[in-house]
């Protein structure tokens, strides 16, 4: 009996979490008049709302922009993060702990304080309305360096010494020896970075005004807020669905990694 209640509570809770998504997808396929109903099924499913979205905003272009920006940022964060993380964990040099201290310090600075000056910096670099403003500021993160450093600290010195005897330099050691055994941390950093970049909307709203360069969440936000949807509910929900689908698809395949990555980053951050 107790089991039954346990499952009942979990199922009810589960439904409150999954039903809204299903409702959204269903509503985006329904004709405008039927959207205000609870049910998920309609005889009149059509792609009309999606047609409207595609017609009104460059959503595919935005999808490409988001993919491009997030991929660049992710690759770069893994690349540079592991290099700096390696230096801070496996090399001895004067000032190392100072750098580490600086990194820890930057992690506690709330972004509210640097947001406006960052925007002005972008204006001064003439990076507003270019991909550069979306990519370059995110190319290295303190958080990734710390995660890499943490992981690299536990790698046995013997492995590195052996490689050095074989004539490897530090970069080859990092990419040939250490990377292959660091998959968990690379995946964690990759997922977190990609997700943060993909879902960010405040920064793009600030530095991108050209519709062609907008990221997907930004474009959908402007579509919903700026009245371009001409108050078409179906179109708004269709745009939201299009925005949700890529990440949900990735999540469906790698949900274990997602959850574990977020948990470790939450615990360590």
């Amino acid at each position: 009996m107790k089991r039954f209640y346990l499952y009942l509570v979990l199922t009810v809770a589960g439904i409150t979490f999954i039903y809204p998504f299903l409702w959204m997808i269903a509503a985006s396929l329904k004709p405008e008049i039927e959207i205000g109903s609870l049910g998920l099924w309609s005889k009149n499913f059509s792609l009309e709302s999606y047609r409207l979205v595609v017609q009104k905003i460059p959503i595919w272009r935005a999808l490409f922009n988001s993919l491009f920006v997030s991929s660049c940022v992710t690759v770069s964060v893994i690349f540079f993060g592991s290099i700096v993380g390696y230096a801070l964990s496996r090399l001895n040099f004067w000032g190392r702990n100072l750098i580490l201290g600086v990194i820890l310090f930057t992690m506690v600075i709330p972004f509210q304080i640097t947001l406006i000056p960052m925007y002005i910096l972008m204006v001064k670099f003439s990076w507003v309305d270019t991909y550069l403003s979306l990519i370059v500021p995110g190319m290295i993160t303190a958080f990734s360096i710390l995660l890499f450093r943490q992981f690299f600290l536990d790698i046995p010195q013997d492995l590195i010494d052996a490689a050095r005897i074989d004539g490897c330099n530090d970069l080859t050691i990092l990419f040939r020896i250490i990377w292959p055994i660091s998959k968990p941390v690379i995946i964690t950093v990759g997922i977190i970075t990609f997700m943060t970049s993909w879902n960010d909307v405040l920064w793009p709203l600030i530095v991108i005004r050209n519709e062609k360069l907008m990221t997907m969440p930004q474009l959908v936000t402007i579509f919903a807020v700026g009245g371009q949807a001409e108050a078409q509910l179906g179109a708004m929900l269709a745009a939201a669905t299009l925005l949700a689908i890529p990440i949900i698809l990735v999540y469906a395949f790698f949900q274990r990694y997602f959850i574990e990555s977020m948990a470790t980053s939450g615990l360590k951050g």
Binding site: T130, Y131, L171, R209, E211, A231
Partner: protein
């Protein structure tokens, strides 16, 4: 060797990034060596009109060709223009100038004073009424904008709903509007739900929403005044109070719903009236159901108001930027943009009203108004329109009025008199701060 790889990798990444981002930007900056650059609004109709007018000009003036570019659609024209002034990448002429932002443009030193051209006054007064022209004068007494077009804000109404409720248009005064609302906002089919509302306005406190409720009603109730005179606040008067009280009553009695509607409820025939400009005519033609019947009437006025009915005109004007190399040619081109022929095409292509006297009696326009009789209402209203004040921080001022409007009108938290007084006080403080 290892050092080199290190340096080269980021550089390659950098070059790649710059290469792929450079392709996206910078189209607008390329200036022709001779001739003029002209920026127009980006909507398809206005672009079509501009293309046609530029083509005709270029055929007649091959020595000074005009190059046409559109303002980017995704951001506000004001921002683009301010940035262009700062970066000295302005065009020679722009035809999407909002009077509310003029002060900033002039302060940034970007505009050419037009009344320095000897035939400015004669050419313009032939077209525009003297009192209307005066509203576009800058603080320093000069004129930096050429009055071009106006979109008078009026009241659209649904004829079927009016008939069903036994309401006879037009509704001239506030009390007529309210008593009509009483008849209309009913449960006709007896399902326990109100069938339609008198009017709906978005309740989000966004400053420009006031351009479609408070502001046109204020201009009307005050007999054609704007918020400022000689750079000082004048909106804290009885006219404002009356407008606030009118809308407060509308909300309190439930004639206007406090909700966020989704979908166009006017076209869905759930609203009896809608406050809008001429663009709604084209919108209705495109999207309304076949049996949709509508009429247009002026903004209602306070019961004790006598005199002409004014409204907000959402004017867009033409300006010349002062880094132009050919001011004379630019002026000639600007005059061409407001010529009789251009105005006729403005009506025909864009369904927007040129700021021009005697529109209805002028032979150039007769055919148009015959074909589109609804537009006559707007043409009649056009001379009695006002724009916005060219004062600094206008958005912020409207934002404050918006907040007081929300508190007093929508949520009934304070009486109109107090709300207006508070708004005036807050505007004063903001202007003091921003000075």
């Amino acid at each position: 060797m290892k050092f080199k790889i290190f340096l080269i990798l980021p550089i390659i990444a950098w070059l790649l990034l710059t290469a792929c981002s450079k392709g996206q930007q910078g189209k607008a900056e390329a200036k022709p060596r001779r001739g003029l650059t002209y920026w127009c609004a980006s909507n398809p109709q206005e672009y079509k009109l501009a293309k046609e007018l530029v083509k005709a000009w270029n055929q007649r003036h091959p020595e000074i060709p005009v190059k046409l570019q559109t303002l980017p659609a995704s951001q506000s024209s004001e921002e683009v223009l301010l940035a262009a002034i700062a970066g000295k990448t302005t065009p020679d002429i722009c035809s999407n100038m909002w009077p509310g932002a003029m002060d900033e443009f002039i302060a940034a030193g970007g505009l050419l004073r037009l009344d320095t051209f000897p035939d400015f006054r004669s050419y313009v007064t032939e077209r525009v009424m003297e009192d209307q022209l005066k509203t576009f004068q800058a603080k320093d007494g000069g004129y930096y904008q050429l009055p071009w077009k106006t979109n008078p804000i009026m009241v659209f109404y649904n004829k079927k709903i009016f008939r069903k409720a036994g309401v006879q248009p037009p509704l001239v005064t506030y009390s007529q509007f309210l008593s009509a609302a009483q008849k209309i906002v009913q449960d006709f089919d007896g399902d326990g739900q109100i069938d339609h509302w008198m009017l709906y306005r978005d309740i989000k406190p966004i400053w420009w929403q006031r351009l479609f409720d408070y502001y046109p009603f204020y201009i009307c109730a005050s007999g054609g005044r704007t918020l400022f005179e000689a750079d000082s606040i004048v909106f804290n008067n009885q006219a404002s109070v009356k407008v606030f009280r009118f809308f407060q009553t509308m909300y309190r009695r439930g004639y206007m719903p406090v909700t966020q509607f989704q979908g166009d409820q006017f076209l869905a025939e759930r609203l009896a009236t809608q406050i809008s400009g001429p663009w709604l005519v084209a919108h209705i033609q495109k999207f309304a159901p076949a049996d949709f019947e509508y009429g247009i009437m002026p903004i209602p006025k306070p019961d004790d108001y006598q005199g002409a009915v004014y409204t907000y005109g959402d004017p867009k004007n033409i300006s010349i930027f002062n880094n132009t190399k050919h001011p004379r040619a630019a002026w000639q081109f600007a005059k061409w943009l407001i010529s009789r022929h251009a105005d006729q095409r403005l009506l025909e292509i864009c369904d927007q009203i040129p700021m021009r006297k005697n529109l209805l009696s002028d032979s150039s326009f007769i055919a148009y108004f015959k074909a589109k009789p609804q537009m006559k209402m707007f043409a009649l209203q056009a001379p009695f329109t006002r724009g916005v004040d060219g004062v600094a921080d206008l958005k912020e001022i409207f934002n404050i009025i918006s907040q007081e409007y929300e508190a007093s009108v929508i949520y009934g938290r304070r009486p109109p008199e107090e709300a207006i007084e508070r708004a005036a006080k807050r505007v004063k403080v903001i202007r003091e701060w921003n000075r």
